[in-house]
Amino acid sequence: MPKLNMVSAINQALDQEMSRNGRMLVLGEDVGREGGVFRVTDGLQAKYGPARVVDTPLAESAIVGVSLGLAAGGMLPVAEIQFEGFLYVAMDQLLNQLARYRTRSQGRFDLGVVVRVPWGGGIHAPEMHSDSPETVLVHTPGLTVVEPSNPFDAKGLMLSALRLGEPVVFCEPKRIYRAVKMDVPEEDYTVPIGKAKTVAEGTDLTIVAWGAMVREAMNSRKELESLGYSAEVIDLRTLSPMDSPAVIESVRKTGRLIITHEAPRTLGLGAEIAARVAEEALTSLLAPIERVTGFDTFMPLGLLEEHYLPNAGRITAAAKKALGVERIAA
């Protein structure tokens, strides 16, 4: 089976679906000739022509708003926003328009639009190129939000997203775009949207992560293993709708929960996960829930970035804290 990194896996998904679906269109800044600043759409314009792979003027609000219109007209637009920091200028089109359009039109317009966005920190980029604003999207009803943590899921989730027939924001953890290669079947397959995945089983505590943080969680799991503890690691994969039942089931088993994400702590997704667990599995908790996250400050420029981003060491430290706490209930 061919070994692909995440860039190639997503590229393959786009390519394959585009050849199958004549209604599909790729648009955004520099997605054509340049193949995207991360090369995710590389080769598509050469193959499908500039009418279907479109370099647009520099205007994110327009990219999303025009995509809405394209979908209303029966096309399947796949829009790229070059970096997550530039989603903010498109917020109205994304949250007030695209997400609400099904409701506004009383179910008439199911808008299949996929908005691809390189996501998160870790590449020593300038300001506004390293954030993780998933909270804003997940808080908004109507949007589906996914973030793969590996090439296999990336292809499968992308194919699911392209066929969902609803607006999807596809967050691509840019830090691990080329970090690993893995077996990615050439064939058509999908990874279901809305389902988390237990990437490693364990009994003593649960670590919830997604995107680039899954790797950190797995590294922490190894550290904990060497200390004699068994961590279960859950990769959320879909951020909205969130598979909280999977998390709750795991916490019922392990009794301890660590959530890790790059976004600032306050109202990061960890807050919602903690709240749902506190609603539905309070009596299972053997220790306070720990959030290992970005801080409630701005992601610093390159030289300090590593100190902002949570890592295996910080996850392990939190895990030790949780494990050291006495049982508070049977």
């Binding site: 327009a62 025009v66 219109g69 394209l70 328009q97 409701t103 969130m242």
Partner: protein, 364 residues
């Protein structure tokens, strides 16, 4: 393109297309393909439109409608939707109740919408109309995308985006025109310049002499017209739409008009303009001049006028009756359209509300 209007009147030099003046005199040489028989029919519908609009305001005052945005004075602009072909799309704002009505949306549905019932926005799959936009300036981008899709699919059709003078200041409107210019989409941008954005007069909205002239800065033609002149409305719309269907476009039409009524039923216009200013605009009424024109042609009488008004009254009344006869929306409706499938956590919330409503506490 064999242009009679676009490119012939340069908005940056203050040139404006007017075919029928306010006294009802027609410049025959500029007359579009709008036979007098059609003018009569349109005038009748515009009369009904005006009555329906006035009725809505009355209903609002009686507490039978929520906030309502009247279009009194803008009937010729609103009637522009009558010139859209069956395959063309209408992309409206809250102000376009008249345009929706002209395009065949049942008045009862429109009243229902303004009563605060979302079902008022449920339009048949075949109606080529996007839902009403509330965020000022957001929807011209949708029209650009939609018309781009038409072009890609090879449909001979256009999308017309309606927006106000206030909307012209929004970034999204700029981006929409720029995209349309680059992509050469069959989009007609219809700027209904009614001189006000709530309380802000047009002169303070922009230091530009006209909005129409901005089109040049996006590489396509813009035309300034007298928006109270149905002939100018017809001519510019027909020319732009026809060109769009034949691979042309986009176009911008700035329709100069005047809002006689309040911004919405919650607005108090005395805060920002005098009664005299409004009165001074009344001689330019879009219906008045049409009536004068038809009378001068011997095609309209006082009896016709009375009949048209009565027809309007009846139509509005039937629409209210139908709207008020509708059962109220069910609380659980609010979960219906959020997503194609209700996610588990929302399902849980739905159950919560259902339980609460059943408990009876909910009905205070």
């Amino acid at each position: 393109m064999n242009s009679r209007y676009f490119g012939r009147f340069d908005p940056s030099r203050g040139e404006k297309l007017q075919i029928l003046d306010h006294e009802g005199k027609l410049k025959e040489e500029l007359r579009p393909d709008l036979p007098d028989e059609r003018v009569v029919r349109l005038y009748e519908r515009m009369t009904v439109m005006r009555v329906a609009d006035q009725t809505a305001l009355t209903l609002q005052r009686e507490g039978r409608l929520g906030t309502y945005a009247p279009f009194y004075g803008q009937e010729a602009c609103q009637a522009s939707s009558a010139f859209l072909g069956p395959l063309d799309w209408l992309v409206p704002t809250y102000r376009e109740t008249g345009a929706l009505f002209m395009r065949g949306v049942p008045l009862s549905l429109l009243y229902r919408y303004w009563m605060g019932d979302e079902r008022g926005m449920s339009m048949p799959e075949t109606s080529r109309i996007l839902p009403v936009e509330i965020v000022v300036g957001a929807h011209p981008l949708h029209a650009v995308g939609l018309s781009w899709a038409l072009k890609l699919k090879g449909e001979k059709a256009a999308a017309a985006a309606y927006f106000g003078d206030g909307a012209s200041s929004q970034g999204d409107v700029h981006e929409a025109m720029n995209f349309a210019g680059v992509l050469k989409t069959p989009t007609v941008f219809v700027c209904e310049n009614n001189q006000y954005a709530i309380s802000l007069p047009r002169k303070e909205q922009t230091a530009s002499e006209t909005i129409a002239q901005r089109a040049a800065g996006y590489g396509f033609p813009g035309l300034l017209i007298d928006g109270n002149d149905l002939f100018a409305v017809a001519g510019s719309m027909l020319e732009a739409l026809e060109a769009c269907r034949n691979g042309g476009g986009p176009f911008l039409i700035e329709m100069l008009t005047y809002r006689y009524g309040p911004h919405t039923s919650s607005d108090d216009p005395t805060k920002y303009r005098t009664a005299e200013e409004v009165e001074a605009q009344k001689p330019f009424d879009p219906l008045l001049r049409l009536r004068r024109y038809l009378e001068s042609k011997g095609m309209w009488t006082d009896a016709d006028e009375a009949a048209a008004l009565e027809a309007g009254r009846l139509e509005a009344e039937r629409a209210i009756t139908a709207a008020e006869a509708m059962s109220p929306p069910a609380p659980m409706d609010m979960f219906r359209y959020t997503k194609k499938t209700v996610p588990p956590y929302l399902e849980q919330q739905k159950a919560e509300l259902a339980e609460f409503l059943e408990s009876g506490v909910g009905h205070a």
